[in-house]
């Protein structure tokens, strides 16, 4: 299962955990699993999140692959100038 790191203000929606483990082979599957397991996270996910998977920042791609041992960091949706 991928390890998903939540930023502090998201942790109260996941029973205070900093890292949660969920199943998913893509970023989209990880999002869906998070929203299922921790419904409090659903609004944040719906509002749009970016992620970093094993160091690579993925601004907005549900199809980006996630391996079973991946480290995933949730980030605020990034925008640029």
């Amino acid at each position: 299962m991928a390890r998903v790191h939540l930023w502090s203000s998201l942790r109260r929606f996941a029973e205070g955990q900093e890292v949660v483990e969920v199943e998913g082979a893509t970023v989209g599957q990880i999002f869906d699993a998070l929203a299922r397991t921790y419904p409090g996270l659903a609004p944040a996910i719906a509002a749009g999140l970016s992620v970093a998977v094993d160091g690579e920042v993925i601004a907005n791609s549900r199809s980006a692959p996630v391996r079973p041992d991946s480290e995933v960091y949730l980030l605020q949706r990034l925008k640029g100038g």
Binding site: N60, E71, L78, G80
Partner: protein, 750 residues
């Protein structure tokens, strides 16, 4: 997609050919937003609120509509209801609903047969306001008595008990900051403030919109992203995206400010009401400054723990940012990760809140959030270096993030080039030039993520072997040239044989705007993929002609060639020969690539600036300026330098003189370039550049993206230089002469 092996020895990449749009731009032929007209076209003008915060009681357009030649007036009542989230934000900003939320907020729009008539008509539209209390300062907006701008606007992230104007909250970090600060030899905590600044593109927003009674429309517009224009206009007007065809004009600067809509739906709504006649809407400079852009203003607490040798043991920030009267517009989500991104620090805590104020809806501005964050963190780093008597570059080298470092925002960095920029800055002659009296030197580093994003590119081989590339990212800084270089390099043909066109929304799949330093990276990457696809097809055509297996054909020097001795002996078949025959060998040859481009390489830079401060007037003169930045690979070095120099110039303006000045009445005081003081030619020295090239493994030619990082270091670098020159540390931008002189006087009296 597999990561490509980085190779050197390119034929075209790294050269400096003339840009394809150069001739049109030096002869006045290039067509920008306001340069387009259509038969039967009307002109529009917008009525804007003179109040920072007011209930709109009544709008009466009777007198305006009574003028001969006035064809239509639109107000919020003409727009659909029921929108939510950012769509509602966009609609609310396009035309105020129940309340005007800032000075300059659009209230109504009118279309007439001439620009002057439209302006006359706008003056005749009567709006009755009930002025209510306002707040424009980020800190004041959080105070208990501050007027509430929008009840219940806070999103899920805001903990209970905060002022209703606090609408977003964010917090993250790693390690044990308490232990980190305990392990430090010195711990310093300071508060920094930056004022809002405007992107300051010289071309005001302009568009021509046409929409029929059937809801089908067209738009010509200056924008960084026409698919965003399409999506946002469709949302605001309640029409289907596919029914709106948007063509981008040449763009007269954007810097993030043209990634969104401000008045474009008005042209369409007016057109529809005026029986489908096209409507031109061009903003004045005052409208641009009052109602578009700007970036956020910020109030920031920073705490850093440092050992005597310069090792940073812990860092902590609390940022308060306002992005106007609209939720989600301040760049707290970018500012926080950027704050300590340059460093490998064992313990970090980041926290930020977004606060609503009665100011315009902020838009992205070059590395949104990063310059403010850098001003706070890099300034305090500099203060601590000076306190400990340490060289600022050495301290940065000691703490610098590198490949394998855990970034401040979580993920581990792959190959990055911060150390290389620091070393190059230290080795540069500018760093050793002796300084005179009242002169000082400042150093700072900066970071930007860079971005890939949704990208669609198509490429077609011509009958003569020349190539057209259709891209969807408007060219602001020379990206057509860099994409042509990469395409030509991949195909093995001359640069001049590739023409890159920015095409309309009907011609490609969805493209994100030119933002996040992504055009050369993402459209370039997609163009290379499209070229490879076309190469594959051209090899197949050659193979068929030669009656050998396609795998036995390779592409080299712009021609299909038999691969190896077993493929048979055939003379190379050039792209021109293949193109000439393609009608008979299977039809048109093209390549296309659609992706949400990954493989982004983070960008770092280090700046060194020398200034002289007049101790009697507080005026700062920039004596020399050095930008060192990692480009990954510089595809067209002249335009890479241009990005570095332009970013530095904008940062210098932000640091020294640019600011939004609001009166006690909540009105913007400086609505013209006379008083919104962007740097003029005589304000600046030549801006020296060093292009560091640590290729990005995620791009076929190693591109990182160079557009944004350059605006980040100038703010703290200038503050450090002024501190060294005048002996006073300014923790509030801009460092305008009155502020600097007041600080010098206070220091003398102390």
């Amino acid at each position: 997609m597999a990561k490509d092996e980085i190779t050197k020895g390119y034929k075209l990449v790294g050269t400096r050919p003339n840009r394809p749009d150069g001739l049109d731009k030096v002869t006045g032929r290039a067509r920008y937003g306001a340069d387009f007209s259509l038969p039967g076209m009307l002109w529009a003008a917008v009525v804007r609120s003179p109040h920072a915060h007011a209930k709109i009681k009544r709008i009466d357009a009777t007198k305006a509509l009574a003028l001969d030649g006035v064809k239509a007036v639109v107000t919020r009542a003409d727009l659909p209801t029921g929108l939510e989230g950012e769509d509602l934000n966009l609609q609310e900003n396009t035309l105020a609903g129940e309340k005007a939320l800032y000075d300059g907020h659009a209230v109504a729009a009118v279309a007439a047969t001439s620009a002057l008539l439209a302006q006359d008509a706008a003056r005749l539209i009567e709006v009755e306001y009930e002025v209510i209390p306002h707040v424009t300062d980020v800190d004041a907006a959080m105070q208990p008595g501050a007027p509430v701008i929008r009840e219940g606007a806070a999103d899920y992230s805001v903990p209970e008990g905060m002022h209703p104007n606090v609408v977003r909250h964010m917090e993250f970090g790693h390690g044990d900051v308490v232990a980190g600060f305990a392990a430090a030899d010195i711990v310093r905590e300071e508060t920094y403030k930056t004022e809002a600044t405007h992107q300051g593109y010289i071309e005001p927003h302009a568009c021509v919109g046409q929409m029929g009674e059937d809801g089908r429309g067209e738009m010509w517009v200056c924008t960084q992203g026409h698919w965003y224009i399409r999506r946002m206009c469709a949302a605001v007007l309640g029409i289907e995206a596919a029914n709106l065809r948007v063509t981008p004009s040449e763009i007269g600067g954007g810097f993030g400010g043209k990634t969104t809509i401000f008045m474009e739906p008005l042209a369409l709504a007016l057109s529809k009401k005026a029986g489908g006649r096209p409507v031109k809407l061009v903003m004045s400079r005052a409208e641009v400054l009052r109602a578009t852009g700007p970036t956020a203003s910020a109030s920031m607490d920073v705490k850093i723990g440092m050992k005597k040798d310069g090792t940073v043991t812990a860092g902590q920030v609390m940022f308060r940012m306002q992005g106007g009267a609209f939720v989600g517009m301040s760049p707290i989500g970018e500012a926080l990760p950027c704050a300590f991104a340059c460093y490998d620090i064992p313990a970090l805590k980041h926290e930020a809140v977004e606060v609503l104020t009665n100011r315009p809806k902020a838009a992205a501005y070059r590395a949104p959030g990063s310059p403010m964050a850098a001003f706070a963190v890099e300034s305090l780093m500099d203060e601590m270096c000076r306190e400990l008597g340490l060289d600022p570059i050495d301290v940065r080298l000691k703490n610098a993030a590198k490949e394998g470092s855990k970034s401040s925002y979580g993920p581990v960095y792959n190959r990055i080039g911060l150390v290389e920029t620091l070393e190059a800055a230290k080795a540069h002659p500018n760093y050793a030039i002796p300084l005179g009296p009242n002169q000082g030197r400042g150093v700072a580093s900066g970071f930007w993520f860079n971005h890939g994003g949704e990208t669609s590119v198509s490429l077609a081989i011509g009958e003569d072997g020349t190539v057209q590339v259709s891209i969807g990212t408007p060219d602001i800084g020379g990206s057509r040239a860099s994409i042509a270089l990469m395409t030509a390099e991949t195909l093995g043909i001359p640069y001049e044989n590739v023409r890159v066109n920015v095409v309309e929304t009907g011609a490609l799949g969805v493209n994100e705007p030119t933002h996040g330093s992504r055009a050369t990276f993402a459209s370039g990457k997609a163009a290379v993929e499209a070229a490879r696809q076309a190469i594959k097809e051209m090899c197949r055509r050659a193979a068929a002609e030669w009656e050998i297996e396609p795998e036995a054909v390779e592409w080299k020097d712009g021609a299909a060639q038999p691969a190896g001795p077993n493929a048979g002996k055939f003379p190379p078949m050039t792209i021109a020969e293949i193109g000439a025959k393609m009608g008979g060998t299977g039809g048109p040859i093209s390549g296309h690539h659609e992706t949400n481009a990954g493989g982004v390489g983070a960008s770092f830079g280090t700046h060194v600036v020398d200034v002289e401060v007049d101790p009697e007037t507080g005026r700062t003169t920039v004596l020399r300026y050095l930008v060192v930045q990692d480009a990954g690979t510089a595809i067209h070095p002249a335009y890479v330098e241009g990005q570095y120099q332009g970013g530095a110039a904008q940062g210098i303006g932000w640091a020294l003189n640019e600011e939004y000045v609001y009166g006690a009445d909540g009105r913007l005081q400086n609505t013209v370039f006379l008083d919104y003081r962007i740097p003029v030619a005589s304000d600046l020295p030549m801006i020296d550049t060093v292009i560091v090239e640590v290729p990005n493994p995620g791009h076929p030619y190693g591109v990182r993206g160079v557009g944004e990082t350059g605006i980040t270091p100038p703010l703290p670098a200038l503050a450090g230089a002024v501190a060294a020159a005048a002996g006073v540390r300014l923790r509030s931008l801009p460092m305008s002469p009155p502020k600097v002189l007041a600080a010098i006087k206070a220091a003398r009296q102390a």
